[in-house]
Symmetry: D2
Subunit: 149 residues, 4 copies
């Protein structure tokens, strides 16, 4: 269950803007093929199609794909709960890789479990078909436009 | 200081093979531009040139680049200390992002702090010029050819 | 939702033995005052009464109480899912402290999110009244009677 | 190597006060028997004698002792680098347990690897004789007297 404070601070317009940006992604998120599916207060659901280029020589999905996906979701789940102009800086996270992935789709859900004015703690679960592939938890600092720690 | 057990188990031929593979990388490591610089018993040094495509819209290096780099080094530092045919499965790691990165080069060092027959614990430090950009610690399981947990 | 494999491997007799041991605790768990409330397949619920001796000079619960409680639950949630004679070795965990605690009761729930023959990954949530106080995730190795890594 | 900013901000009087408080400890640190040995800029060295009461039934040191010790050092290494009246709130940490401990002394060293006005990131290594027993890394928020996040 997301932090109830996330419900009060949810801006659906920003969520929509992020959903519509799926087609315009650049950089690492484009290379990975991250697709945002749905925002709700305190929640973000996303998908990633496992293509051959993302596998290692052993035939398993490179763990770095899951790690980079976690980092991406940590920040992005926060934006609709922040004031305009603020930005999200992931300061730390930890992940456990639970099962090898060799194909199909990753279905990820990021949930804000604690939200204050300057800090969010987020849990992530990534599934691959029937199986949990990864869980993560991490901290995001909500930064004001000019202040950097 | 690496685990002394890593010194006894170091195979320089495998280390050389990994160093020479810099030109033949594929997939995520190629996209990121990871370059292995040096192996020593229990140690791996690598570099990554920060190019514009890896920045976010705010102009900072995407945290997912650092996360994926950590995952990659966690496994690769172990191979010269494993028997041929074995493979390295990262099971978990945690990272702290210490300073925003906006250009230059990442210089990473991965160190095996504990090594047993089936498990390695690895610490990573990534610098960007004068500054620490990231520290990480994680666990790698050393898997026999057919056995998967 | 716990790993379905935890359901198949649940031994209610061992769970009962752990519940009945509340009165006979020694060492650190006794000092902390950990009380097991309920086992279910893949789940353990426990409580801890926050007494003044566990507070710091600032009047908040010492974070070490939450950290030690997490470590204790990580191992204990696994025992009813293990063979007799095996033992649980916590190899790593990570926790986020979400809100200061100054009194009342801690209500903790540990859940096995992934279980194989030799490894369990466990998530923990600790509440203090209405508020989440701590979340954690970690890895437990299931060790055979004589084999130590 | 500690963050150079820790050197500029080191107050030896506060360090001395913490060292002299070894005899007056209360609560969990007293129960554990933590002893501070030495402060330097960005560093704190501490010891803990492993007594039988801290062992589990299997004869190994309870992992919760190491976890609680880490939490304690995370905050305490910061105080000589903070302004008077500020307090240190550990927000998260992660530890790896590297070897079972059954007796002797724990020798711990905590190092501030990154320090800003409001945040410290700290690495900890705990040795037991010749062996590394635990490594940890975590984040401490430096809180002003009245402001709580």
């Amino acid at each position: 269950m997301p932090d109830p404070r996330a419900e009060k601070a949810f801006d659906p317009q920003i969520a929509d803007a992020f959903l519509q940006a799926n087609e315009k992604l650049g950089g690492l998120p484009k290379y990975l093929g991250v697709r945002f599916i749905e925002y709700q207060p305190g929640l973000l659901r996303a998908e990633l199609a496992v293509r051959d280029e993302l596998l290692t020589m052993i035939g398993n999905l490179h763990g770095g794909v899951l790690a980079a996906l976690c980092d991406h979701l940590l920040g992005c789940v926060c934006y609709p709960h922040m004031k305009r102009g603020q930005w999200a800086a992931t300061t730390e996270f930890k992940l456990n890789l639970l099962a090898p992935v060799s194909g199909g789709t990753l279905e990820a859900e990021a949930e804000i479990v604690s939200l204050s004015r300057s800090l969010a703690v987020v849990c992530i679960e990534i599934r691959n078909g029937e199986r949990r592939a990864c869980i993560a938890q991490g901290t995001v600092m909500i930064m004001d436009p000019k202040k950097r720690a």
